[in-house]
């Protein structure tokens, strides 16, 4: 059923269609609307047979989820930013225990300085926590990915994060096609746990594993994600057959045939990139783009296939590996191991900085001339930075950087974009 609705609400509807039995909620912007929506559905009785638990922290949210999942019921939670970091220990634990929890990340920056806007620093920080990470490009895809995520998680006994850009998607009203309950039921069978806490068949879950088997346990976790590399496209294909639209999969190439320059990115920015690609293609530039949907497992082979004929690859990252540059770039480079081409890391959209078509076009043109630095910060206010560096060099007690920058910038809200 087509609806014009907020991204968060679309996700809430999608999750509800997956019939979770336990939902753990702790408020943090920008994922809040999702659990609010679910809470409303539970209270109203629209989402029957489900516990909606208001917990005292994100750490507790995922911990409660660990308990309910281990007790054998389908479990969901959502978080963002600091919240994800606060639950970090439990994030690793859930995957280590092989619990198929699905969690939405409303992607948001990490402080300090505190910043509530979008980038990918939060989910990137958990990229190696053993969860599958899927990044949505649109609200429709986010909705669809949740349905696929439960199926994938439960097939593999591995938790899945569905990452969607905070505000840009979570708070965006757009058209989504919400499937019917029967369609979802046909795709997503009831949860059949691999292990369950049950007095009739007691087991010990969460043993301490020493050097004699820890490597094997980690290997098996890796192996599980390698299996996911096969299951993710297969599920996307099945999903497309049943629901009539393409969602998910490992990567999504766009106009890469014959492209000399290919832009790689995660999440909603791909839409804007595609606009620019179209514009530049019309102007005769051989450019294309690839959206990575599955960041964990990282689709090395698929990316290699998509990128190997390009002359250059621009990886646009909404996260900064401080002291290195890009995180996604590392994986892309590994995918292209042994292939000679120019690779550029572009850090963009940090803390909600708008990524505009104009900036992207300028960037891609520069890339086309191979005039980019290895690591570029899109739309960096170099004057501001230079001034601050001067100031700090001149005064020992230079005070907080962020506040100093803001002071120099004037009223933030006076600017658009």
């Amino acid at each position: 059923m087509l609806k014009q609705t907020e991204g968060s609400h679309a996700i809430a509807e999608s999750v509800a269609l997956c019939r979770p039995k336990v939902i753990c909620a702790y408020p943090i912007t920008p994922q809040t609307h999702i659990v609010e929506g679910l809470g409303e559905m539970v209270k109203a009785g629209e989402l029957a047979d489900c516990e909606f638990i208001n917990v005292e922290s994100e750490f507790a949210a995922l911990s409660v989820a660990i308990g309910s999942s281990a007790a054998g019921v389908r479990t969901y939670t959502a978080t963002s930013s600091q919240g994800l970091l606060f639950m970090a220990e439990a994030v690793y634990n859930a995957s280590g225990l092989g619990l198929p929890i699905v969690m939405t990340i409303g992607n948001r920056a990490i402080g300090a300085p505190i910043n509530i806007w979008n980038d990918h620093s939060d989910s990137m920080s958990m990229r190696d926590a053993g969860w599958i990470q899927l990044y949505a490009e649109t609200n429709q895809e986010a909705l669809d990915l949740h349905i696929q995520a439960f199926r994938l998680a439960e097939e593999l006994s591995c938790p899945v994060m569905v990452c969607m850009d905070g505000f840009i998607l979570t708070h965006a009203y757009e058209r989504v096609d919400v499937p019917s309950q029967s369609e979802v039921d046909a795709f997503l069978p009831p949860f059949e746990p691999r292990q369950v806490l049950d007095p009739a068949e007691p087991v010990t879950i969460g043993a301490m594993v020493g050097p004699e088997a820890f490597t094997e346990v980690r290997y098996l976790a890796h192996h599980k994600q390698m299996r996911a590399l096969e299951r993710i496209p297969a599920l996307a294909a099945e999903f497309e057959r049943r629901f009539g639209r393409a969602s998910g999969g490992l990567i999504r190439p766009y106009r890469t045939e014959g492209a000399e320059t290919i832009v790689v990115a995660l999440g909603s920015v791909n839409g804007t990139i595609q606009e620019v690609v179209d514009e530049m293609r019309e102007a005769g530039v051989a450019i294309g783009s690839v959206a990575i949907t599955s960041f964990r497992p990282f689709p090395l082979a698929a990316l290699r296939e998509a990128l190997m004929h390009a002359k250059r690859v621009v990886v646009l990252e909404k996260c900064l590996a401080v002291g290195l540059g890009g995180i996604v770039s590392d994986g892309v480079r590994k995918a292209l191991s042994g292939i000679q081409l120019n690779g550029y890391t572009v850090v963009a959209g940090l803390g909600g900085r708008a990524i505009t078509r104009a900036s992207l076009k300028r960037l891609f043109e520069e890339a086309g001339r191979d005039a980019l630095e290895a690591v570029t910060f899109l739309d960096l206010n170099t004057d501001l930075v230079a001034h601050e560096l001067d100031r700090e060099a001149g005064t020992r007690r230079s005070g907080p950087t962020a506040e100093a920058l803001l002071k120099r910038l004037g009223t933030v809200s006076a600017r658009i974009g």
């Binding site: 911990s63 989820a65 308990g67 309910s68 007095p199 969460g206 043993a207 020493g210």
Partner: protein, 331 residues
Amino acid sequence: MEMQTVRFYQTGTFTVGNRLLAPHERSVQAEAQRANALTSGHRACQGCGEALGARYAIDAAMRATGGKIVAVNATGCLEVFSTPYPETSWQIPWIHSLFGNAAAVASGVAAAMRRKGTDDVRVIAQGGDGGTTDIGFGCLSGMFERNDDVLYLCYDNEAYMNTGVQRSSATPPAARTATTPAMGPEPGNVFGTGKNVPLIAVAHQIPYVATASVANLRDLEYKVTRAMEFRGARYVHIHVPCPLGWGSAPADTIKVARAAVESGLFPLFEAVNGEIVSSTKIRRRTPTADYLRLQKRFAHLFQPGGEARLAHIQAIAERNIVKFGLEGTGA
């Protein structure tokens, strides 16, 4: 609390069993067919009070629920010594997640049981004092205030034993730990610090809170059993000596625990819906010094200059005795 309803049975209910009592009056631990939820082969130190306390408590819960128990364990000695791959000592469904989240995981299990329609399966969370009063305190308080249907058992050995005896917020004054060494003008743990989590639990007005000790099995079993009569959040805080951390003889584990109770330093009480309703009376009043002397962690108190601190501890015990009404007729 009515314990000894029989007129006189040699050892009454003070020993684990008593062949003179009717079977229904005997303790869980006296039963040949007891659950032994925590079975042999675990790697706890010799004379481990926590191993003992855990079996006491879980077996009692097993009897109270007809064996329908799921346990969630915080990281700590109990977890480490009971479940090193490839062996587990647990005979019940059991999960370990993290150090600080046992209460929350248990909330999740309870929610799942409710949703599965199997809420006759009761959920227990358990941890040491560190996992309960410090790192797990947030989750514990959350579980309490939501009144989730979980019995939380804290095995209090008064420090972080698993990591090598560091101070926790349950470490008593003057106790030597690795992070409160017996040095300087105020050796050992500082007086006037720490928190009383049982009373904090009472302040949450949850249905049931109790303190218990491995030195008083019947009292402990009664409290666990009683806790199982309630739905909602329940908390039982069990004093379990640690020979390693306390520097007491392994054989003295119960003796030390008994001295803590009989001196008034560890009051046994129970509270229902936020009100303290009873206390277990001291049977044979013991000076606190007799308790402290059994433990090397307090050895500095018995060196010259320790008198004032000894007196301070005695005063704490006496305050407890008045506050919790520990003297008078009782079991």
